[in-house]
């Protein structure tokens, strides 16, 4: 069956470059998460606002982000904007696409977290004489943060895995991009991508474990 000799040594020789690519992967994911969270907060405020001028674009963003493929969103950034003469590099297009996606999903995570807090908490705070803003800052926001923490870290793992799509728009500095570049040279597809898979797995596990540890330390009640 196997007329193929596995050449693992060749794959391992590519390891240093792949690890550099892994670093780029983590950097893009982190950046997309930071931006995504910031935008998601704005979107959540927009969706809950009373003005249709704020609600409509926020809802549109979230619904598009959640009902179209992430790859489509990256394509839009890389190819779609070409119709307007805007040519984004693979890096920027990938970042834009993943951030767009993150913001949409995180908005719903935050809104769900907000809904999970009983309205009576605000009443209690206001009965003690707190203004609306103070009650939000001292009582709602901390609880929201706790409820949304684990889903947000899930989204981070998602973002890390999503960066692999960059290779379809020419990204060659992240882990998958680097692996594909090696692949085009040596054609050791299976070995190279198996190794890449292991690296992704390790990164995902480290992030999840780190998140659990952080949650345990921060939310000890």
């Amino acid at each position: 069956m196997f007329e193929y000799t596995f050449q693992w040594r060749q794959a391992f020789r590519a390891l240093p470059q792949m690890l550099e690519g892994a670093l780029v992967t983590v950097q893009i994911s982190l950046l997309s998460m930071v931006l995504g969270v910031a935008i998601a907060v704005l979107l959540a405020v927009g969706r809950n606002s009373k003005s249709p001028w704020l609600r409509a674009p926020a809802t549109a963003w979230v619904e598009v982000a959640r009902n179209t493929p992430a790859l489509f969103q990256i394509y839009m950034a890389h190819f779609g904007l070409g119709s307007f003469g805007i040519y984004l590099s693979p890096f920027v297009a990938l970042l834009a696409g993943i951030t767009f996606n993150n913001a949409g999903y995180l908005c719903e995570t935050f809104r769900g977290a907000l809904r999970a807090i009983p309205h009576t908490q605000v009443r209690a705070g206001r009965s003690l004489g707190m203004g609306q803003a103070k009650a939000f800052r001292l009582i709602i926001a901390p609880q929201m943060f706790r409820i949304a923490f684990l889903p947000t870290t899930n989204q981070m793992v998602w973002a890390i895995l999503m960066t692999s799509l960059g290779v379809t728009v020419g990204m060659n500095t992240d882990l998958t991009g680097v692996t594909q570049a090696m692949n085009s040279r040596t054609f050791r597809t299976f070995e190279l991508f198996a190794l890449a898979g292991v690296i992704y797995y390790c990164i995902a596990k480290v992030v999840m474990l780190g998140a659990r540890l952080l949650a345990w330390r921060l939310f000890r009640y």
């Binding site: 598009v64 009902n67 779609g80 999503m162 799509l165 290779v167």
Partner: protein
């Protein structure tokens, strides 16, 4: 109105791509759900230690990018000389991917059925299988359906990745037309609209079911 080189045939071509997307989604979700239900039932009834290897393997499907899974599967079948078509390979990979998530959904849904209810059923003389199908299944369905719908839609969107193996699904068909016509925004908007039309109504339905069932409980 506005000039476009887009012809009706091109639209048909894209719709054909959409058809391929739906076909892959169908096979993947069907296979994945059957496996997911089996694994989920297993996980909720058997001790965690016994199912550890299964959990470990399924977890891999959720921790490695789907694109890499497709590439590896394709490379593997080539090496092993199995001559499996890219379409079948994609369906198998996506089915396994689906089953990994479905297992957790099913397990969570079954665990959500109060054990006292199940004990009541057994005390009435129902067999284990009857309890599972008559009591657990309807209750678990309520809990799990919204998540399962979310998973199905997720798989449909992730299916775009199979283009890497050369399959011409919706997004790839759009890209082919873009290469010819150089009107990326218009074509992508149409593709996006198709994705949206496929996903949004079902997502809304899932949300409505979830709310309706929550009220009734």
């Amino acid at each position: 109105m506005f000039d476009t080189g887009l012809s009706f045939n091109d639209l048909l071509f894209m719709l054909k791509g959409a058809g391929v997307t739906l076909a892959i989604t169908f096979f993947a979700v069907t296979g994945g759900t059957i496996m997911g239900v089996a694994f989920g039932v297993l996980r909720s009834h058997v001790s965690p230690w016994a199912t550890l290897p299964l959990v470990f393997v399924l977890d891999i499907f959720r921790s490695v990018p789907l694109l890499i899974q497709l590439i590896l599967a394709n490379a593997f079948q080539a090496i092993a000389g199995l001559q499996i078509s890219p379409f079948t390979t994609s369906c198998i990979v996506l089915a396994l991917y689906t089953s990994a998530y479905c297992t957790e959904i099913v397990r969570g849904a079954i665990d959500a059925v109060p054990p006292v209810t199940r004990r009541a059923a057994r005390s009435l003389g129902l067999t284990w299988w009857q309890d599972l199908t008559q009591i657990v299944f309807p209750m678990a369905l309520r809990v799990g359906l919204p998540s399962w719908i979310g998973l199905t839609l997720g798989v449909m969107k992730d299916s775009a990745l199979v283009m890497w193996l050369g399959i011409i699904e919706l997004l790839k068909s759009s890209q082919i037309i873009i290469t010819r016509l150089q009107e990326p925004m218009l074509i992508l908007l149409i593709a996006g609209a198709i994705y949206f039309a496929l996903s949004f109504p079902i997502a809304r339905l899932g949300g409505r079911l979830e709310r309706k069932w929550q009220e009734n409980d």
